[in-house]
Symmetry: D2
Subunit: 363 residues, 4 copies
């Protein structure tokens, strides 16, 4: 069940980068949910390549076709399958690489796991292209959540040592919408410009950059999730590490909490409009795996694009000799900004699953 | 299934801090595995409180009794159940707190989830005490792994801004053993002394500290794991976030990868004694969710102990008024060092599950 | 995860027949449910051996001790663990059998699976004794269900060709209670006497008998369950086949439906007190995997006790020679009547899980 | 996860009868398996309607298109998605029925579950048409199994009281092939002719018939499966009850075991060519949930087609009044014979999953 996640809402992703099509099955969607196609396409556009010099020149139409589960634009309760045809591939670019695993890619581990029989053209099933069907799922989840007052938003937190602002204690849906409307998804546009300049520098240096994304969800009720191994953090982390290039996940203060004292890190309880809230939110809206009702916040680390246009050391798996390779083709010098909607998508999908399950602590 | 994890090897934890007993069921253990009780108890001792001024004075015998699955010290293939009696509880200490959720604890979220009906004495099922049965499971897993040449070790990476050395590129089993034998689990004892001094300062200031732990596993074959949502990172993260106080998980370079360029972060492939290895290991032994055969490395962030002896703001859930509370009782000013064997335990258990599943990429 | 079942309510059984103890962990029970111990023990009594010449003379106290999850007789939301000590074992009886698999038992398959290292004394983890912890789980589930107007009852449907009456179209809770109060669980006591005479005849002939059990549940709302592979039938069957000696499961008319025409088997829809009901119930309360609101009915086939006091052919797995064995010890000439509460227990546990999940077809 | 099954090999079915397409995702297939398209299509042909007066006149091309997971006819290790376009629908036939649930169909339960918002044209996701993608999955599984010497076959066991022969103790692959080649899948063609005459009589009477199917698998090693809730029977039953119209599942002697004595039902162990076998096979190749190495045998009850051309009582869910309906359209007077390959398909898929998992009883 490698390419699936979820409990009551199961999401299953299929396809290889240069195969016939990629797609997603969502099993467990509630019926009667109208899906606005324009809104969905606008969401998908946010991860699309080819929009700026920061991204690969490859063009993807990425129009999802719904084979099932959606009739007249409304979910009907049976599994939804959306398919995106693959088009503009240059498999030739990858031919020479088959026996020479690219550093930082899954070429070598796929070679070992499937004894050299995997379809790894363009990264195969490991390709970032597989995040397109994830965004179809997440875009649908976001619409269903928004109808219940739950909003998910994200921004590029930092690239290298260039930081965006963090989300405020209570981010508004309008802030999420404003970031989503920007070509470069940051809160502080000046920081964004510095980041873009840095990415262009990396591109010129035939190199690439990593980054981190902060994601938040507002409107969640308190009491969702479970202790120990099936909590909100466990489920989100298990899904988020499924996004290519994610190497770290933290909630609330996360790794920074390791540098705080208890008196700093603890979030005091207060009353606000008769409801229990916390004064700060180092917990990221989760205590003991269960939502507090405060905004859920998390950060995800994205490693630098492994495809760089420099010669790199590798091993020829056919001859078992050390050699070098230089990756041709078109590649993003940074994918962190394009990953922003993907993080939103996976977060939204997990949260919808949690909301469908509800709080069954009492009966 | 909140308190369970695993696929072919299922681990299910039960018990509340001040209930009759705590314990663990391991379903799917292979038969014929001799478990050395002395070695297991030595492992359990590593997380025990009451050993130094750094830890709570509460004494726990923590002797696991095996109700099933282990006959004459050897696993017999049926589910193993180990039980640890609860003894030295001072539930009175917690009585007053019932309606006043402690900041940073799960009191409030448990109150909401179970409508005030949870047994939260001493933290209930959320207590750090539940890590004892996890260590029973992990101690057993470690013995089975070691027999196959797979070793898991960990150390306290940092507390606040005081850092231990990191693991070398290829940590030896002897290094793991040496750290395990120390009263304070670090590689560099001088760094360890500075950390301990810092913890004592926090204790005197009626405060607490967080920290981070680095864990490594050596001897894993390449090709374990799966792409996307069932990879080594997904499974480890899902389990590790089940340990109380864990707020972040990263693999290899993790969040640091966000600050590296691709040419720095990519691990070049080399040949060593005829085998494919990588020159560096920023990937932490995992590419595309699948093991590379290099050491698996991860870091986990532990938040500062939320129980501090200072007055803290909270809300009285009975009267719904803002109030203050001061936590009495005995509490660790830092739990990060005691969490080191727990991280090893959970990591080892997940890795044993992965090894039992093996590589079924081809048939 | 061999010895577990359930989705939101996970039930995990552990123990071997002649090990230290057997028990069960229930993870996902709602909090605040008072469990009447007397009622629970009365339920456990129904499966106990040693009550009549029809059953083995082995005495089991079978008093469950609750290690967690139940405080002051009320569930607290964390995993409930109940343990039953093993006492009156005569392992010597089984010693000689170790290398000679008993026909109809799991001795041989366990020998192959665990390479001869399983603890198979008294049947080990495969023993009918493991149905005691299942009844603890089911007895608790039954109490929680009854509080919501859902009642589960069962009776011995037939032994050989001697048939009890079937449940009426709408069985009343009082009927379930009446059967439960009888020493021999049938609706028609005259049929029951004939069955008992038949069992005694089998005992005298050093032989054993099988039988079938009919189980029903009333008070379930319509709309529970899911299409295809996660429906009410799928879940119940998956759990019921976990009961030792079960070799068949059918719902409603079941295999008889294969002998009916569509016009006979279809259940016409009617209105009754403003609610949609069906005139007959060949569907057993389930259409397309989803409850109709009519009583759920199922039948389970129990094979004859494989332990018989006659010489039987077997193979000595040590010498790999054909040989004979004669099983000593004490054994039930029929277990079908004792399995009646076990079928109720497993059915009730699965139904509670379904009710906790509820109908999330719309949101 | 209603429309999925499997553990290491996950099979997820999607589509509605009159939607755009139906299909299946297989996640966990081993790489390097060549799939013979002609053989696969021949297998799919066996369940196709429109071949004889016994089946509906509806024509389905049912050509699966592989979107992923299969490159140049060979599996590549990533999830395989196969899609079958829907073509020849007459949705008009069903329009009038929307508010009037058809007896014996899932119309009413779907109406309750999805609050009237399901797409139930032609039975929607509950339609027998969804068995086409199941056969794609099963046809692939059968080819992979056959390469390892595991063969799965089935025949129509009985319709009404007209019985085919049963499989012999050791059915040969040639027998499976011979049955598969027949237009009517029985062992004894004379019995088959009587059955077909009976079906035609039912058709003339505007009625329908049920039946039962016997399925067997040969070549399985001993030691597959697990005790209690994850055994071979549990997994097979859970999947088989996902096939529309299945109302009963039994293994080996099944319900007949309830009519046998222990001395009749027990299968004595013998040696044959140095291997342990059983003289008879009432256990159906499974003891304690684990394979014995003898042929696996099971029977499945198929209810009579609920769509019959007679007036039937129902309730108008719009007006909540009792009414009548007469189903128009084209329907099979019996589907049991067409279900034969479907039973094979699901059985083969579950067995491939079990074989991929292998025997990890020891390590």
């Amino acid at each position: 069940m490698s390419s699936e996640f979820g409990k009551l809402l199961r999401v299953s992703v299929f396809g290889q980068s240069h195969g016939r099509a990629i797609g997603v099955v969502m099993d467990g969607l509630p019926a009667g949910e109208a899906i606005d196609q324009e809104e969905l396409l606008a969401f998908l556009d946010r991860r699309k390549p080819g929009k700026s010099p920061l991204s690969t020149a490859r063009k993807e139409a990425d129009l999802p076709v719904f084979l099932s589960g959606l009739e007249n634009g409304v979910t009907c309760g049976s599994p939804l399958c959306a398919v995106i045809q693959n088009g503009d591939q240059h498999s030739g670019d990858y031919k020479a690489l088959e026996q020479k695993p690219r550093p930082g890619h899954a070429d070598y581990t796929a070679y070992v796991k499937w004894s050299g029989q995997a379809d790894m053209r363009g990264g195969g099933h490991f390709s970032g292209r597989l995040t397109a069907p994830l965004c179809v799922a997440g875009g649908i989840a976001k619409q269903i959540l928004a109808r219940r007052g739950v909003y998910v938003g994200a921004h590029l937190d930092h690239i290298g040592c260039l930081y965006d602002q963090s989300f405020p204690l209570h981010p508004a849906p309008e802030l999420f919408a404003a970031i989503a409307a920007k070509p470069f998804p940051v809160i502080d546009d000046q920081a964004g410009e510095r980041m873009q300049a840095e990415i262009l520098r990396a591109r010129e240096a035939r190199d690439s950059l990593g980054g981190a994304i902060q994601c938040a969800a507002i409107g969640l009720p308190a009491g969702l999730g479970d202790p120990m191994f099936d909590g909100v953090e466990n489920r989100l982390a298990a899904a988020l590490f499924g996004i290519p290039a994610v190497k770290g996940v933290e909630f609330g203060a996360g790794f920074s909490a390791a540098k705080l004292s208890g008196s700093e890190n603890n979030d005091p309880f207060l009353l606000k409009d008769g409801a229990v809230v916390t004064e700060s939110n180092h917990a990221g809206g989760i205590l003991g795996g269960i939502t507090t009702g405060m905004p859920l916040t998390l950060r995800v680390a994205i490693k630098p694009t492994p495809s760089i246009a420099r010669p790199q050391k590798t091993v020829d798996l056919g001859t078992m000799e050390e050699t070098e390779l230089t990756i041709q083709g078109r590649h993003d010098p940074c994918i962190a900004h394009r990953a922003v909607p993907v993080i939103e998508a996976v977060t939204a999908t997990v949260l919808l699953d949690l909301l469908l399950e509800g709080n069954h602590g009492t009966f």
